[in-house]
Amino acid sequence: MRVTVVIRYIGMVLQFIAAFMLASAAVSMLNGYDSAYYPLLLSSFMTALLGTFPLFFVERVDEIKTKEGYAIVVGSWLVACIVGTFPYLIWGGEFTMINAWFESVSGFTTTGASILNDIEFLPRGLLFWRTSTAWIGGIGVVMFALVILPSMGKSRHMLTNVELSTIAKDNFHYRTKVIFRLIVTIYLTLTIITTLALKYAGMTWFDAVTHAMSSCATCGLSTKNASVAFWDSAWIEGIIMVAMTLSVIHFGILYATLTGRKNNIFRSEVVRTFIVMMLVIAVIIAISLVAGDYYPTFGEAMRHAAFQVVSITTTSGFATADTNTWPAVAIVLLVMCSVICGCAGSTSGGMKVDRVLIAAKVVRNRMKIQLHPNAVIRTKIDGIVQEDSTQSLVMTFIVSYIMLVLIGTIVYTLFGCDILTGFTASISCISNVGPGFGEIGSMSNFSGLPVALKMTSTLLMLIGRLEIFGLIQLLFIRSWK
């Protein structure tokens, strides 16, 4: 493995992050040079320097090997999270070393969990930076950086291996070169349209931009302590729901829909399952809320239930109600949403509908084979036969996911958390959702957790964002063939 090549490409990613820090400093400047201006400017300079330094020595390469690709992607996430702490640390306030690391990892992995007790106290520049980390993370630090840089040649394809799950890659029927432009175009368009819609619905420009960025990254970071509940507007909630839902649908399918191709949203089995699942769960929760006298009318219960279901399933974590107080059935269903999450090839985290669908079909086929031992039954998604290797990978992923959740729960409870907090925090971090239940409910945060648990949470977030194996495989990089 050529370490110099890995350093060069991580450096390029750092340059992009530095550009966003500079943009945040510009926001600070427009806001009358608020207290985040110098921290952001200095952080931008330090990050740019770190990123540019390798370019003085390492020359461009056309071919990147598998090992190098993995190291670049995983290294970029880690380094991005480290430099992301700079503005927080220099600014001070509630940001100790651990808190700054937590907030940075939470942003870049689009988890959206926070340790801040008073978000509105932050200057606008820092709030913008906080949302920027989520926006960069949403599209994948490496993927985003490499689209704009025109010098990669064949090396581009290798770098998508970790960023996009195997299933997502199968669904892309376009050339690698097109994939990057396609993703960025869709991501940017979605963000711009959401910004305009939110502005029209009554938000200020700053809130509209930050919430659009956060919605499209399915991160859930807000500029208000009360999150989206601050506005108490059905229009704003509706717009954010649409943005979140579109952001967790495979970007290739979105592109196909927009360009009038066959494999569009309406024909996709995965998208259909995803939408139907959300609708059914929202209705059940709404009924339980009305039955429990939580809301006076079904319409109001449905409004809050639908928003929370979409927010959790899309791994965003925005809040309009305190779900901690909801009936048990609602909590169980929302936890299930935190596990399944959105579609592959999107900004979503978690197990993903694609995998759950394949697993369900594998189980169904196994039962059929037991009834008809000589039958040849294939697992198909959208009419495409899923190979045995894919099925095996899906089952391995699901088992690994469950094991990690259990290990996470043990660690949380070991440090004094109750079972509900520990279990949901573990799921919430691995699936990059953000809020859980118990001490880390939709209206509270992770600030009360001890340092060890904050570190555990960030580790789980990183593992989840890199599709579990991305980070673990890096530990065995020397033994790769």
């Binding site: 370490v3 110099t4 350093i7 110098y38 921290p39 200095l42 300079f45 330090m46 320097l49 770190l50 540019t52 330094f53 390798p54 370019l55 003085f56 020595f57 390492v58 020359e59 700079f86 640390l89 220099i90 600014w91 001070g92 306030g93």
Partner: protein, 274 residues
Amino acid sequence: MFNWIRKIFKVNSIKRRIQLAFMSIILLLFFSGAMSLFELERVSHDTEEILLASKENIDLASEMISALNEQNDAMISMAVIGGTLRDIAPHFEDCEESMERLRLATEEAQMRMSTTDNAATTDSLVMFTKRINEMVVSYINGDVHRALSKDTITNPTTHLWYIESYKPEYVKVSGQITKYMTGSENTLGPDVNRLSHTARRAVTPVFLSLVVMIVVVLMFYFFVNHYLIKPILRINEGVGDYLRYRIPFDSNLYCRDELVSLRDRIVALIQKLR
């Protein structure tokens, strides 16, 4: 449009690479230094403000205590020790002067503390001061004027007045001054917090710059070793092997700078010698 950026990053000369590396380190030092100086300047300014505010508070309290003591001395002389009008005349003036000083000092304190948590204490202080001053004025207007006809102003009634009326008020005012002194120092708390925040902001950039600097220096060492020292050693080894054992000179380099040109020239020279 971006040709000049490309030119910066397309460095094919050893000298330029080293220059750029050192320039980066110098720039980092300069910026972190400038940032720290800026923040230290703020720390210094905040410290000065806090010290000044503290000094002014102490001065005011000292002025109040001094005026109150002077008034007390004068009252002891007039009401307890007593004497003829000629004896008490200087105390009479002292008393008026101390009343004025006490009034001015308490009003100044009230103005300074009007927007702080200590405002209630200064309001009480002003009220008690007004009360004790009024008491003294009434004493002077009453007893002293009565004494003018008798040529002496002290009697058992004035003793009693001092002990039962004046002394308790004196204790109240002096207690309130003590309260003001401690309270005014407590009001500097937010300023001290701000100072601590600014001090942290002055230290953090330096700490982060040091970390970044260490990373840059390590990278610099790694790259110099990888792109300069190792190739030179390899060329040297290749030439040595050729001269000693006639092993064909072949040095595979992974850079595009003067070292490649050196290798090519060595190859040309060997071919020419053949």
